[in-house]
């Protein structure tokens, strides 16, 4: 079999497109989950801090912390997990701050997104990339 330069290039491009295809599908799942939390509003970037390790050796227990001054609720989403929702914190009148931390499972290297609902009804978001060496969630 013999390829011309043009055919080889076309094949290569096709391969790249095919490899990129699953990404938008996943992204829309996360977008749907975020839209369900915000009621369709588009969150602004910033105003919430998400603390997560850059590299997590064990995906079964990844420490994360959220801090969003003025928030009534903060939801955390994982883009690469079988189920996108991770945890939702709602702060009550006795809360001393808008900070909370926990440990989560991450199936693979992925972006973790935190969306905060503010007292005035607006939404803020941030994301962090976590590299996972050994994935959680079993298999």
């Amino acid at each position: 079999m013999h390829f011309t330069r043009r055919e080889a290039l076309a094949l290569g491009l096709g391969g790249i497109t095919a490899a990129a295809l699953p990404l938008p599908a996943l992204a829309s799942k996360v977008d749907d989950a975020i839209a369900a939390f915000t009621g369709g509003a588009t969150p602004a970037e910033g105003g919430v801090t998400l603390t997560a390790p850059e590299i997590a050796e064990n995906g079964n227990t990844v420490p994360i912390a959220v801090d969003a001054p003025g928030a009534v609720a903060v939801a955390v989403f994982a883009t690469g997990n079988p189920e996108t929702g991770v945890v939702t914190f709602r702060f009550g009148p006795a809360a001393g701050s808008r900070m909370a931390s926990t440990r989560v499972r991450l199936a693979k290297t992925q972006d973790v997104i935190a969306v905060a609902q503010m007292e005035d009804g607006s939404f803020a978001r941030t994301s962090a990339t976590v590299k996972v060496t050994i994935g959680g969630c079993g298999g």
């Binding site: 189920e83 009550g92 001393g96 499972r105």
Partner: protein, 109 residues
Amino acid sequence: MASNVKPRVKVPKSASAGEVVTIKTLISHPMESGQRKDSAGQPIPRQIINRFTCDFNGQNALDVTLEPAVSTNPYFEFDVRVDAAGEFHFTWYDDDGSIYEERKSITLA
């Protein structure tokens, strides 16, 4: 009811009025995600704690919705503002309907 479920909570013994105290909670629970399969290839049914709340003197401080992505032995750390002496009431809700509770009191220094 999952076996050996034991809540553990760390609360300061006393605080000054208006102080913000940090609370750490841990409960031993397998948090079976529903994603794993057993040795016969059958999916293991999901059984997790799906909600955790912390109240202080009847006022809610934190209400958490947990998904299967929360790790085994769910751990939480958060802050509560203490204006008066009183009692913390922690509640964990299991998928199977079980409720695990823990109470801790705090005095004013």
